[in-house]
Assembly symmetry: C2
Homo-oligomer: 332 residues x 2
């Protein structure tokens, strides 16, 4: 395995920089092919390093880029990039845009600022709209990548076609599959169903020779596993993602109530089991597609393991495809 | 209580006309103030009547309008109205449009044909776009009425404002509340979140003096019970409804699998309990708003009890408000 260097923004986590730094150290222990560049307050990062982590600092696998400031969730995404040039997020993306050895980035910070930053520092020459894609656990045990979940809420049919291409490239890289099945989110499975943009996108996807289009899917069975890539505008995609999370949480709450009313401890175990199944939080995170280098957004509430899992996804992508390999830019 | 006459289309049910006719007889037994007009094949209806039902036929509480044809789910909604003038659906709506004593209609038939038919026979003088509203069980035990769930997938901000007014009138009538709380479905709770149409609708709703607007809600907590009316275009609303149903069904399947793997019968009881909580089917159905008379669509798979429940909702509406009372048209 080649060596790959990934950038991690240590700020923006609800649990503080310590969690991110500890996750980074665990990832370095787990993956031999991994080099890391941590961006944040140098003194803090050094303080939070595990014993093994401190060792990686001396042997070169771990590097620190100091950033004195941090963008918070209270900052306006549009303004933050310009008002906080010394923030970890800006420093991280700016390093990524200029250094060929940095291959991707992970951040738990302000999603809007990360998207805006990725567009500013890592946009493609065509300056296409980015998509925030989320790989979700499907009912059949597989993974369905939902593109977009909120980066671009007003979409044309051409943009949805572009999202299908981005999702195809991403899932090919992530799972090493040749022709990921692409479906379009609609209010009915028939080609004639959908709003005006979705109907037009259906025709474009049907005609696109480079897309393995399998047709429309509805909300009812969007995550059945019948497709690898699920295309939606950012508004409908956000709705699907959040409604799935909200409904799962609601049923789990119902089970906990039922457990308490019956006094049966067993139901609490079941609730815990389901919580782990639908804890999209721990699955790895979201990824901004349509920019030059893989930019991963993990939840603000992520723990150490989320950092390790997300690093693992990036390494899989680098291994599975030459496109993102060391020294090359990630633009396809 | 005054007497109210409701029309029931006996065709279009997956379970056959017998189920609808039996439900109608049960409703007549339960509600003294109810008169019914059943539309369908006269001989069949007479055959399916219960003993009590046959009695209502002689005392005038029950009336039959014969229709020799039926619209099925395989018929194209747009064509069916014209190709099947003798269908129960067309006969029912046409009777409603001309007779003042008929106050509302219930049908388990083809949704698209029912919407198209309601627009043709019961449209308002302004010919506004209709909405298919679905009252849903909220997390706090209340009811949230989702408007629209698919009748109008391409909406302007003005249409969303109109849907808010329709939902307000409906929930006022149904639950006898003065100022139902109205929320707007969006991808974030902040007023600045949403696609272009939703952002504009937020401003319109905020300014409308006749709407008790409580702001945006996201998919995560759309059905928490924080609002009585949830406004969405038919595309997003359909997504919310079907994703909620699909996710609930998925978790229930997980529980059944878990029950089988552990061999614990108890978990099967829990699965059954949750199934009844999230069986939107038995809740009463959907209602077409924006037409002159309340037009209820119940699921094709509805049972006798669904018919009784839906009749009950209509009677509540007639009792709670003068608007829909006997002899008056339902336009507001």
């Amino acid at each position: 395995m080649d060596a790959y260097r990934i950038v991690i923004d240590t700020e923006g986590s609800d649990k503080g920089a310590a969690t991110i730094v500890k996750g980074a150290c665990l990832a370095l222990e787990k993956y031999e092919a991994l080099n890391l560049t941590l961006v944040g307050k140098e003194e803090c990062i050094k303080e939070y390093l595990t014993e093994a982590g401190a060792h990686y600092l001396t042997d070169g696998r771990l590097e620190i880029i100091h950033a004195s400031d941090a963008i918070t969730n209270y900052d306006s995404p549009a303004k933050a990039l310009f008002e906080k040039p010394d923030s970890s997020l800006v420093r991280a993306l700016s390093a990524l845009s200029t250094r060929d050895d940095l291959l991707g980035v992970i951040s738990a910070g302000n999603t809007g600022a990360l998207i805006a930053g990725a567009m500013r520092f890592l946009s493609t020459p065509e300056r296409t709209r980015p998509a925030l894609a989320v790989p979700l656990p499907a009912e059949n045990g597989g993974t369905t990548c939902l593109v977009d979940t909120g980066a671009t809420v007003d979409c044309t049919a051409q943009m949805l076609l572009h999202f299908a291409r981005l999702g195809t490239a991403f899932m090919s890289a992530l799972h090493n599959i040749e022709a990921p099945r692409v479906a379009l989110l609609s209010n009915g499975s028939e080609p004639t169903k959908g709003n005006a943009v979705v109907k037009e996108a259906h025709l474009l996807l049907d005609e696109a020779a480079d897309i393995n289009f399998v047709g429309n899917v509805e909300g009812t069975n969007a995550l059945s596993g019948a497709c690898d890539v699920l295309v939606a505008d950012g508004f409908a995609g956000n709705m699907l993602l959040k409604t799935t999370e909200g409904t799962a949480r609601r049923l789990i709450t119902d089970i906990v109530k039922y457990a308490k009313s019956t006094g049966e401890e067993k139901y609490m175990h079941l609730a815990g089991y389901l919580k782990s199944l639908y804890d999209f939080n721990s699955m790895g995170g979201a990824v901004i597609l349509g920019v030059r280098k893989p930019t991963f957004k993990i939840h603000g509430s992520s723990n150490e393991q989320t950092v390790v899992n997300t690093v693992g996804m990036l390494l899989d992508m680098f291994e599975n495809t030459g496109v993102f390999k060391k020294g090359e830019l990630a633009a396809k």
